[in-house]
Symmetry: C2
Amino acid sequence: MISASLEDYLEFIHNTILEKKEIKAIDISKAFNISRPSVSEALIKLADKDLIIYEGRKGIKMTKKGIEQAQKTVKKHKILSDFFTKVLKIDREQAEKNACKIEHVIDDEIIEKMENYKESKYKDNE
Amino acid sequence: MISASLEDYLEFIHNTILEKKEIKAIDISKAFNISRPSVSEALIKLADKDLIIYEGRKGIKMTKKGIEQAQKTVKKHKILSDFFTKVLKIDREQAEKNACKIEHVIDDEIIEKMENYKESKYKDNE
DNA sequence: TATCATTGTTAGGCTCTCCTTACTTTTTTC
DNA sequence: GAAAAAAGTAAGGAGAGCCTAACAATGATA
């Protein structure tokens, strides 16, 4: 198990690497508004859990395990965010913000139902 | 602001008083599987925040402020749980479990949409 | 190349929520 | 009414996740 904060950081690291090929600790500090020492601490924890490879200034890399975990979170996030915007007609920004928080506590079964619901019902009304 | 744990305890205290007229610290300990000292600590915090009146063995009472706050949580909980069971066809137990966690992090706007959604759409399919 | 800015680390501290152990106080029950 | 059980409190501790201040290392620039 991993905490909500660490899951957020891992997700961000993953997304940023996909988008910009690399990421530095300072990017996390800025993105989440937390101090540089707190980022260091979090990165060490992620590395301890074998989710990233962290070698200080040499950079941050995802491990296979880290990528798998991050992908799960990203998928949950997307399903939640889509459900909120498309089914409940919530604006994108608020949908994103809430997805970020709920993705850490919701069970997979509900996520699955949301995903299926999307396919079976609301598309008819578009 | 109040933490998720304290909000859970407050909600439980409120529901139990409504149901059984009174509640003791030990009931919270059993319900949430936390130690008696942890309950004491939590009750002192709730009292500090003016949400309950706590006088040790003399009992626990809700304040006006506490009742209002608990009612909000209970309402959120119910809307979430109903949405999960009726719209997403999740079983009651899992719906309850997830409502308990999500109620602490979800925005009011989404709760409102869930409530309205209920009225406008899925009732047609029952 | 010397200086300055940026990035990261160390050390120490804070709050929160939980714990255990060891009382004290109240309530049962024999 | 005395012993035992139940309920609550005090004291001290642990881990998570933050913080600041101070220091070290790297990189850019004049």
